[in-house]
């Protein structure tokens, strides 16, 4: 459990946050830029000396302004992934990892070979960090943080400076850190899709305050919630791997008894994965069609509709116990004569849709 009750006042900005986070899995902190999410993360790390209040990790008090307790950041045993990696330029990749290994509090912890192999950076070890690509830098940054054997891993917009293909390749890595190394993670991001793919639980921040808290899936798809009522809305689906079809380069999933096709993935059959489907990628048909390239056609029921802007509607589509969302034009709604409670087929392309 990570508990905090902190305030920080700067000119023109004040942050106040009181929370208790059970640290299992990955927590996301999301909000617009300037909402204080990075500042909150820095407070937890001990990088904001002017923060007042209290931070407690399990039975250790990391800071308490009343009792004048302050544990220096280097003594908190936290791993921190900065947006820009912050690798030491005078050292090689190996040198950066060794720096962390040498400063471990205890000799225990994950084996360096294990970390290096898991992140796939064996071939980079002897390179100077100046010659790494953005994706490689972040992999090394993750490896370095893990080499320090942290009790908690904080990530500040770890993918913000990466191009799309680097993002896609590093996402599964970040997502599996908790399962593989047992290190709880708190990740800050402004990108809803990124958070949906990474986090199990979510803190929503606005204007220096935590405005909502809950499971990522429920916050993102609760009808009427701020996150589920604009044109960036997206749905998170839990699915089970059914079988791989390497010839066609796809994997078939089961979701609520229906078949879903996604880009080929490595998870074994039977394992559960989650996929993120942005509302603007979903279109509707009144019946199934074979005369289309769109592979994924799921039977759903329209349970809610809300207006987005002047010309669009955001529909809530019930899919068994889960929900999909579709962003359609008002014109389409009228033409198809759609109504609440109606059965529709939700379609979205398999290409580009990856599961995690």
């Amino acid at each position: 459990m990570l508990e905090f009750d902190v305030t920080l006042d700067r000119s023109g900005f004040s942050l106040q946050a009181v929370q208790q986070l059970p640290l299992q899995g990955i927590w996301g902190i999301m909000g617009r830029s300037g909402c204080g999410k990075t500042t909150l993360l820095r407070i937890l790390a001990g990088l904001e000396k002017k923060a007042k209040g209290q931070v407690r990790w399990r039975d250790q008090l990391w800071q308490c302004s009343e009792q004048r307790i302050w544990v220096e950041p280097e003594k908190r045993g936290i791993g921190y992934i900065f947006q820009d990696g912050r690798l030491f330029p005078h050292l090689t990749v190996q040198g950066n990892l060794d720096f962390a290994i040498k400063r471990r509090v205890s000799a225990q912890g994950p084996d360096l070979d294990d970390i290096v192999q898991w992140l796939g950076i064996e071939h980079l070890l002897h390179r100077s960090v100046s010659y790494l690509s953005g994706g490689e830098r972040q992999r090394v940054a993750v490896a370095r943080a893990l080499s320090g054997n942290p009790r908690l891993l904080l990530m500040d917009e770890p993918m913000a400076s990466l191009d799309w293909s680097s993002k896609i390749s590093i996402l599964p890595v970040l997502r599996q850190v908790y399962e593989h190394f047992g290190v709880p993670v708190v990740v800050v991001s402004h990108d809803r899709e990124e958070v949906a793919r990474l986090a199990t639980d979510l803190l929503l921040m606005n204007n220096g305050q935590v405005v909502d808290k809950g499971s990522c899936k429920s916050l993102l798809s609760t009808p009427g919630h701020a996150l589920a009522s604009d044109d960036q809305a997206l749905a998170v689906l839990e699915a089970e791997v059914k079988q791989h079809n390497p010839c066609e380069g796809v994997t078939e999933l089961w979701v609520e008894g229906q078949k879903l096709v996604v880009d080929s993935m490595t998870e074994e059959a039977g394992s559960s994965v989650r996929i993120v489907v942005p509302a603007h990628d979903v279109s509707l048909m009144k019946g199934h069609s074979v005369q289309t390239s769109i592979q994924n056609q799921l039977d759903t029921v329209i349970t809610a509709a809300s207006e987005v802007g002047d010309h669009h509607l955001l529909l809530q589509l019930q899919l068994g116990r889960q929900n999909l969302m579709a962003l359609i034009t008002r014109r389409a709604w009228n033409r198809l004569e759609l109504a609440l409670g109606q059965n529709v087929v939700a379609c979205f392309k398999a290409a580009g849709l990856s599961a995690f």
């Binding site: 790390a45 001990g46 990088l47 220096e72 950041p73 280097e74 003594k75 045993g77 936290i78 791993g79 921190y80 900065f82 820009d84 912050r86 690798l87 030491f88 330029p89 005078h90 050292l91 720096f99 962390a100 400063r103 471990r104 509090v105 370095r144 943080a145 320090g148």
Partner: protein
């Protein structure tokens, strides 16, 4: 002839010893001082910078005059030194070292401060998050990243100490083997119309300064290109 060369060699020895000791002391003082100044977020920072920079604009004789006063056993500093070491500072090699440290300080502190200001302080946060304490961070992150400016500062301090004259004249006098440095020996040679010796010293200093400056600018240029 032999005696003359010997006295020049003596002066060379004193000069090099003075410059070396001064440079080492200046690095020991200058590194923490420049770092502290870089991190200082106070309105009095320019005051410290001005104090350190004084020798850049002040006539060396002014500094020498006040040092002479301070070295006097009638004053606190001079008394303290006399009590602690049993000998006075004025007209001694130790006195020259003290004066040189003050006189050459801006040449060491300023390049270091410039380098520390350009240093990416975000790297220190990254190091802290890996369990690295303040001294460890300074020794293993800051210094290795600033090796070139460090070398530059050392060269500048060394060169400037060799080139000083006015302060030495005021507080060191002209004691062979103790305080007679090359610049004084040159003055001496000219005064006594010993132009052969004057040529030797002046030419030697000229070539030495040229080589050293070449090295310094080479370091600086490479630093800029990086």
């Amino acid at each position: 002839m032999g005696g003359m060369e010997e006295s020049v060699l003596e002066a060379v020895r004193v000069t090099l010893l003075l410059a070396s000791i001064t440079t080492v002391i200046l690095l020991l003082i200058g590194l923490p001082l420049a770092w502290w100044l870089t991190r200082l977020r106070s309105r009095i920072r320019p005051l410290f910078e001005a104090l350190i920079g004084l020798p850049l604009v002040l006539p060396p004789t002014v500094l020498g005059f006040y040092l002479l006063l301070a070295f006097s056993p009638d004053n606190f500093f001079g008394r303290l030194w006399l009590d602690a070491t049993g000998s006075g500072l004025a007209f001694s090699f130790s006195g020259l070292v003290v004066a040189s440290v003050l006189y050459s300080m801006p040449f060491v502190v300023q390049p270091l401060q410039r380098a520390f200001e350009q240093f990416d302080h975000g790297l220190l946060e990254a190091a802290a998050m890996l369990g690295s304490g303040p001294l460890d961070r300074f020794m293993n992150i800051v210094l290795p990243s600033c090796l070139r400016p460090l070398l530059l500062a050392a060269c500048l301090g060394f060169a400037h100490t060799i080139g000083e004259f006015g302060v030495v004249l005021m507080i060191g006098g002209n004691i062979a083997g103790e305080t007679r440095v090359l610049s004084i020996a040159l003055f001496d040679a000219v005064e006594t119309h010993n132009f052969q010796q004057a040529h030797l010293i002046a030419g030697g200093l000229l070539v030495f300064a040229l080589v050293l400056l070449f090295v310094i600018y080479s370091i600086d240029r490479k630093g800029g290109r990086r």
